[in-house]
Symmetry: C2
Subunit: 133 residues, 2 copies
Amino acid sequence: MDSTQERPSAHDLPFNVFAKACPSRGTLEHVTGRWGSLTLGALYEGSLRFNELRRRVDGVSEKMLSQTLHALERDGLVHREAQPTNPPRVDYELTPLGRQVAERLLDLIHLVEGRMNDVLTARERYDATRGAL
Amino acid sequence: MDSTQERPSAHDLPFNVFAKACPSRGTLEHVTGRWGSLTLGALYEGSLRFNELRRRVDGVSEKMLSQTLHALERDGLVHREAQPTNPPRVDYELTPLGRQVAERLLDLIHLVEGRMNDVLTARERYDATRGAL
DNA sequence: CGGTATCCCGGCCGATACTG
DNA sequence: CAGTATCGGCCGGGATACCG
């Protein structure tokens, strides 16, 4: 019943994101990263082209969007479909796994958006007491 | 009006994380950030002291943990309870809102951990085709 | 349109030292 | 134990220019 150092809550999966060296931590960061989460969220509605995505994810630069899409494609969350037409047309869409991830991400996003007033109120209270120092 | 049919993309909430200037984007980043997500995830099991948390979130520095906790406390997701004993004892625990957030985060974390083999496979395929350039 | 290459700055973050 | 202060490197990420 005792296997060296097992914590009560710990999951027995081979991958544990709380461990520094675990590769799942890297993927979690791609997914939850500043642009990763918004990109996946935007693609949940359906496939989008590069510049559509860029407009949808307000504030992202070409460089970061490109970089983000490569990371997500590499992790198998986004599928890139290029058509060799002229002018070129490239569509990005979620893979089945990407959809599952995006679903959870959107749950989180909607929760944060929906409770933002509470957050703002909490900030005011915090700043009123601690910010006065 | 057409309030019956609604595009899934457009939420009518006052806060939209896809908009550059929206404060919800900042909170989402606190929550999904590298240390924010792990901190909230760790606290889901119950309250923890500073150094317990530090050990649990493998790799976090004192500075970043402190900074992360302040941001989460300010946003009303974590409650800090200090006891004026000697040696000092400080417990951190999730607020009700923090619990809801952590719940979603853990859903995401468990999904990523559980599908990590697929991710790793996808990476190999990607690197084999594109990495050869 | 759909990107890549380059430059470069701010701030994220770790290491270290110090305080109550 | 529970932090804060300071320094410095590294790199995330924006701006710009350029290519197929």
